[in-house]
């Protein structure tokens, strides 16, 4: 606040509307920025060794640096699946009808489940004696043992169940925000439904898709409960948040934990930058309005 306002004109100080943001800014500085800087400094003050020894340790210990790859391998496919399913479903439900309202509500319900209930439900449902195995056996589709829990697949499935409603809601709101006149104009010019989507809708929702990808990716990237409960936390699904948690609350090495948290944030921001940058590469031009 101080930094920014000191650069602006003096009359700003007497504008009450400018002061209305003050509580929020103070809160963010005290609870977000300060702890973050504190953590960043703490990560360079390891319990033993030189300034960088936490980071050296992270990148030279196999079960630490490998967590980056493990997390990306879980979060990227899960986010892609969510977005790729959500786009056609949202596109189909773009018109405002009673049917849309009901379908949307049903599709959003999995948001209420929470990762823990999904984990518990999947352990029961996909378990060796669960309904899923019994149905497949009764229908003679597949008789072998089902391995959808305590491994990689289990965590991806749970990320799709918990992440899909959110991706769907975001994309639905982007698609319904597009002026319906545009696809109608395309239809008048003889475009098939697919071409209406390809040439009228898709370029317009691309920025929204990039945003939805980033916001969904954050949720998948910080996967913690399902990786512990549904995966194999010592092996295939040892994600980076587990490493951070262990450092902080099992080894009480807050310095190392802060270092892991900073690395985690850096990887996440790297993905966001790549996605938002790629958006600019693919499409340049007006994203709103009716010219086109």
């Amino acid at each position: 606040m101080m930094l920014m306002s000191s650069q602006t004109a003096g009359s700003r100080w007497r504008d009450p509307a400018m002061w209305m943001a003050a509580p929020a800014v103070i809160f963010m500085l005290a609870v977000f920025v300060y702890p973050f800087i504190h953590g960043l400094i703490l990560s360079f003050q390891p319990l033993e060794g030189g300034m960088l020894s936490n980071y050296v340790k992270f990148f030279s210990t196999d079960n630490l640096w490998m967590t980056i790859g493990v997390t990306l391998k879980l979060a990227l496919p899960a986010t892609l699946i969510n977005i790729l399913i959500a786009v056609p479903v949202a596109y189909r439900l773009r018109h405002k009808t009673p049917y849309q309202k009901i379908a949307t509500t049903i599709l959003v319900i999995p948001i209420t489940l929470g990762t823990v209930l999904i984990a518990e439900g999947m352990l029961t449902y996909f378990g060796p004696k669960g309904w899923f195995a019994q149905i497949l056996q009764t229908l003679h589709i597949y008789e072998g043992a089902i391995r959808l829990t305590h491994n990689y697949a289990g965590v991806v499935i749970s990320l799709v169940i918990s992440g899909f409603p959110f991706a769907f809601l975001l994309i639905l709101s982007y698609i319904t925000g597009i002026d319906p006149v545009l696809p109608r104009a395309a239809a008048t010019l003889g475009a098939t439904p697919f071409n209406q989507f390809r040439y009228a809708i898709f370029p317009l929702i691309l920025p929204g898709l990039a945003m939805a990808f980033c916001l969904s990716f954050v949720q998948a990237f910080s996967v913690f409960p399902s990786a512990v409960l549904l995966g194999s936390p010592a092996g295939a699904t040892r994600v980076i948040s587990i490493a951070a948690y262990e450092a902080a609350f099992e080894n009480y090495d807050y310095s190392m934990a802060s270092a892991v948290a900073m690395i985690m944030g850096a990887v996440q921001l790297g993905v966001v930058v790549i996605v938002l940058g790629a958006r600019n590469l693919f499409y340049r031009g007006p994203v709103t309005g009716g010219k086109g």
Binding site: Q7, A17, V33, P35, L107, L117, G121, F194, G208
Partner: protein, 302 residues
């Protein structure tokens, strides 16, 4: 040509045909097949999720359920067992206190800030918007661990205010981001009119803006409410033994499974789901899900 198009995928068909004016019927066939596929996929997804919920619900009222289609006896005692074992009464009380405080504080602090962002242009506005966007763009664990570390140093961790502050961190930017477009679409002339009649900023806010913003405030608070009930990571990192919310208590009960009957864990999971579901359904009554990000376009202004 005809042979070739009918055997390719629906997308290919519509694309290759688009140049030719005639074959209307095939377009219909293609888009029908496509929407059938979409509906089918969704039905498969929903049936499996539904059965998954149903198996948790069934287990929570089962006497014993081992490898059969249905359990061999029904009982409700797991709910009372869960209530006592996990001190659900206390946990629910903490959850309500945390959630209501987070909703109230995020609205009180967030709406005025959203007003500044919507109505004023100033140097550093982009920086400020970025500051509010950042907590939504990085994983909660990343800022949760430094925050929790600091809270342990200040002896704030494990207390109710500590849990509330931690949960307010993602809620406040969320309110600001939802409310800014809401405020932007309100006609600024209304405010000017109020000023012409001598209203000061506070009076104008109280008598002109708040009534107009009521639907948006309701929407934002319900969404924050649902999100806060489900917020696991930050509560997990900052809560102590007697300040656990429902999600965290549920996690510990599954994590420490083996000591406890799976039925009583499932009973607790059902309580959690029903609590969240009620609020979500209320939210969906008042908020059109399509308002989440984009501007409200239902009452055309231009």
């Amino acid at each position: 040509m005809n042979q070739a198009t009918t055997t390719t995928s629906p997308m290919m068909t519509s694309q290759s045909i688009s140049r030719q004016p005639a074959p209307k019927r095939r377009t219909h066939w293609a888009s029908r097949a496509w929407s059938g596929l979409v509906v089918g996929l969704m039905t498969f997804f929903l049936i499996n999720v539904g059965l998954m919920i149903a198996s948790v619900a069934t287990n929570s009222v089962a006497k014993r359920w081992l490898g059969t289609w249905l359990p061999n006896g029904w009982t409700l005692e797991w709910y009372s067992a869960a209530w006592q074992e996990f001190q659900l009464g206390d946990v629910l009380l903490v959850t309500i206190q945390v959630v209501l405080s987070v909703v109230a504080l995020s609205i009180l602090i967030g709406v005025p800030a959203a007003y500044t962002l919507a109505r004023r242009n100033f140097r550093g506005k982009k920086l400020l918007t970025g500051l509010f966007l950042l907590p939504l763009m990085i994983p909660p664990i990343t800022y949760g661990i430094p925050l929790a570390t600091l809270m342990y140093e200040l002896h704030l961790a494990g207390t109710l205010p500590g849990v509330i502050i931690a949960n307010l961190l993602p809620a406040l930017p969320f309110v600001i981001l939802v409310m800014t477009p809401f405020i932007e679409q309100i006609d600024p002339n209304l405010e000017s009119a109020a000023r012409v009649f001598g209203a000061r900023t506070f009076t104008m806010f109280r008598h002109v803006l708040v009534p107009l913003l009521a639907p948006g405030i309701l929407a934002a608070s319900l969404l924050v409410l649902v999100r806060t009930i489900a917020m696991f990571e930050l509560t997990f990192l900052t809560a102590g033994a007697d300040t656990q919310t429902l999600v965290v208590a549920l996690y510990y009960s599954v994590f420490a499974a083996g000591v406890r009957a799976s039925q009583s864990i499932d009973a607790m999971a059902m309580v959690y789901m029903i609590v969240t579901l009620i609020w979500l359904l209320i939210a969906m009554r008042f908020v059109s899900p399509t308002q989440l990000v984009s501007r409200v376009k239902e009452h055309p202004q231009n």
